[in-house]
């Protein structure tokens, strides 16, 4: 219901008031509104708006965690960040992780949801198996997968040996450590996307399937001609949420690598953390934060533009 409609029903349903009283009423309503808003707005200003502004200011200073510095240095932090190979490396790692994780996290989630939606027995068990890992804390999944990927006695290498393949030093090898993190992440978070797809599938009215059935369309035919075309909007939602979530990689990569700063797994958030809390350079860390923020905004705008183009084509 739009505001206009709400206002219309409100004035229509309330008893008519004389114009003079209306101003007082409005004033009173505004006062109540601000009382309702106050707690949230206070927290919003303190813990969101102020840090954004303050962080922006900090990014132009050489403030350190130890309290030293704090003088205004203009754009030197940004200049340094844009010329910092480690920063670009961290951004590239984050982009690569996003690419590698998003594809399976969307595609496999869709397959899972399609299979569960066929109504086969054991619904609660399927849901539990696919969604349960999502409920685990990052530290827990990191510990489980570090154990599985243990190079000498881990289950992953035991499996490889048992089928006659060479064991891999998953997390210790620069060529495979990001892949190992992707595997753990897909296992961990796919449940969320799976549930979104499942909800969308269950919103497709069953009479559409019944009609197709009468026309003699088989199950597979129904999936391709009824189900998948209607999942377009859902896929856009899932994809958008997933890309934004993957870009914020930190927890599991940091933990699975035991907190070390490796050139192949360091995410941009890890670099922000390291610059600020390991290197004590708050100003520089704030500047990298804003570079990352800009990346997120650009990705968001790109998605909006692509979406609009697709809409225009239809």
């Amino acid at each position: 219901m739009s505001h206009a409609a709400t206002a219309a029903t409100r004035s229509a349903s309330a008893t008519p008031t004389p114009p003079a009283a209306r101003g007082i009423k409005r004033f009173r309503e505004a006062r109540i509104a601000w009382i309702f808003l106050a707690p949230f707005m206070l927290a919003f200003l303190l813990f969101l708006v102020w840090p954004i502004l303050h962080g922006f200011y900090l990014s132009f200073t050489d403030q350190s965690l130890t309290g030293a510095g704090g003088g205004f240095v203009g754009g030197t932090n940004y200049a340094e960040a844009l010329g910092d190979a480690t920063m670009w490396r961290s951004l590239a790692n984050t982009a690569l992780f996003t690419l590698l994780s998003t594809v399976p996290l969307v595609a496999i989630a869709l397959v899972m949801a399609l299979l569960v939606d066929t109504g086969l027995p054991g619904q609660w068990l399927w849901r539990l198996s696919f969604f349960m890992p999502y409920l685990l804390a990052s530290t827990v999944i990191s510990q489980i997968w570090v154990w599985i990927f243990n190079p000498s006695v881990g289950a992953a290498n035991e499996l490889l040996r048992s089928i006659g393949l060479e064991p891999i030093a998953w997390l210790q090898n620069e060529n495979t450590n990001l892949t190992a993190i992707v595997i753990a992440t897909v296992w961990w978070t796919i449940g969320f996307n799976f549930l979104l797809y499942l909800a969308a599938l269950q919103n497709i009215p069953s009479h559409q399937y019944e009609a197709a059935e009468l026309d003699g369309a088989g199950k597979l035919r129904q999936i391709f001609s009824i189900t998948l075309p209607q999942l377009g909007p859902t896929t856009v939602v899932v994809l958008t949420l997933q890309i934004l979530a993957s870009l914020k990689l930190f927890d599991q990569a940091y933990q699975m690598m035991g907190g070390i700063s490796s050139d192949t797994t360091r995410s941009i958030i890890q670099y922000i953390y390291e610059a600020g809390f390991v290197g004590y350079r708050f100003g520089y860390s704030a500047a990298i934060s804003y570079v990352f923020f800009a990346v997120i905004i650009i990705v968001g705008i790109l998605q909006a533009v692509l979406l609009r183009q697709r809409k225009a084509e239809q």
Partner: protein
């Protein structure tokens, strides 16, 4: 979903749009119910599903199996589910007697509950004002709150830490809780829900002379139980599993939450795999139990907040 992206409906896993007014469940009969056709296709689907589910359960089951081994058996590798010395609860006993896991679990529980209660309350009040009350600048303010959804909280760790230093809240639970109570997306979801509550229900109460607060508290809130539950569950899971901010703001071992506390013992235990797995399994139990108890609400909550967060 048949709705367009601009106006996502709150969806319910039971099928159909979630109706704000009624709490009754739509019982969904499965699409195949009543058909005893075991076609080859169904069998193939079942096998595929079973294989996938097994694949998804195995890593956790392997962790459980490891936790019940002796350290020697765990470190000897191999793919056997039961160690050579049989099943033992040694790992669990040593974890539980070392004591910290209880403290961390308690810290996690109370901070997560505090974050959930505060977030849901302040968001609901604000959402109601945006939805139903008339004040100057309402539109504009709502757009600002809406726009802030895109800000990744991780970007704010430096200025937030600075702020906590100024407030003297570093290494306190309030320093951990307060920055996490601002969730603009929840205000958006709740406002959308309040918009859909029929105004006539409130008008009836107004004619009886009830105050705005009264109406909100005794008419609107009870009607909103399903959505409040969904939002609470979502906020709680997020708070319970949050790592980066608690990791930064808490240094005292006795104030740590479970995810952060577990991180510290990885290095401390070295190669005691059985104990690390026992700890991981213990730490996962609370949320797995919660999921088993509230499966329907959690599934619905994820779907609602997931689509609503758009």
């Amino acid at each position: 979903m048949s709705t367009s992206i601009e106006t996502p409906q709150p969806v319910s896993i039971d099928g159909g749009a979630a109706r704000p007014v009624t709490g009754h469940r739509v019982v969904r009969t499965s699409r195949m119910a009543g058909k005893k056709r075991f076609s080859g296709l169904r069998l193939a689907a079942f096998v595929a599903l079973a294989v996938m589910a097994l694949g998804w359960l195995l890593p956790f089951l392997w962790a459980v199996a490891t936790a019940f081994k002796t350290e020697t058996d765990a470190a000897s590798g191999g793919l056997n589910w039961i160690g050579a010395s049989g099943i033992t609860t040694q790992a669990f006993e040593s974890i539980l007697s070392q004591g910290n896991i209880w403290v961390w679990a308690f810290n996690s529980l109370w901070t997560s509950v505090a974050i959930t209660v505060i977030t849901v309350f302040i968001s609901a009040f604000a959402a109601y004002a945006f939805s139903r009350l008339d004040f100057r600048g309402r539109r504009w303010l709502f757009v600002v709150v809406l726009a802030s959804i895109v800000i990744p909280p991780q970007v704010l760790i430096i200025p937030l830490f600075y702020q906590m230093l100024a407030f003297n809240l570093v290494d306190t639970h309030w320093g951990l809780i307060l920055p996490q109570v601002v969730m603009p997306a929840m205000v958006f979801i709740l406002k959308k829900f309040f918009d859909a509550v029929p105004i006539e229900l409130e008008d009836a109460a107004r004619v009886d002379g009830a105050s705005r607060f009264r109406i909100f508290w005794s008419v609107v809130m009870p009607l909103s139980r399903p959505i409040l539950g969904a939002v609470s569950i979502f906020v709680f899971i997020n708070a319970w599993n949050n790592f980066l901010w608690p990791f930064i703001v808490i240094n005292d071992t006795l104030l740590m939450t479970l995810p952060v506390g577990l991180q510290t013992v990885i290095s401390a235990y070295g190669v005691q795999y059985a104990q690390i797995m026992a700890q991981a399994v213990l730490a996962s139990l609370p949320l797995i139990v919660v999921f088993l108890l509230f499966q329907r609400q959690i599934v619905k909550g994820v779907a609602t907040t997931g689509f609503g967060g758009q």
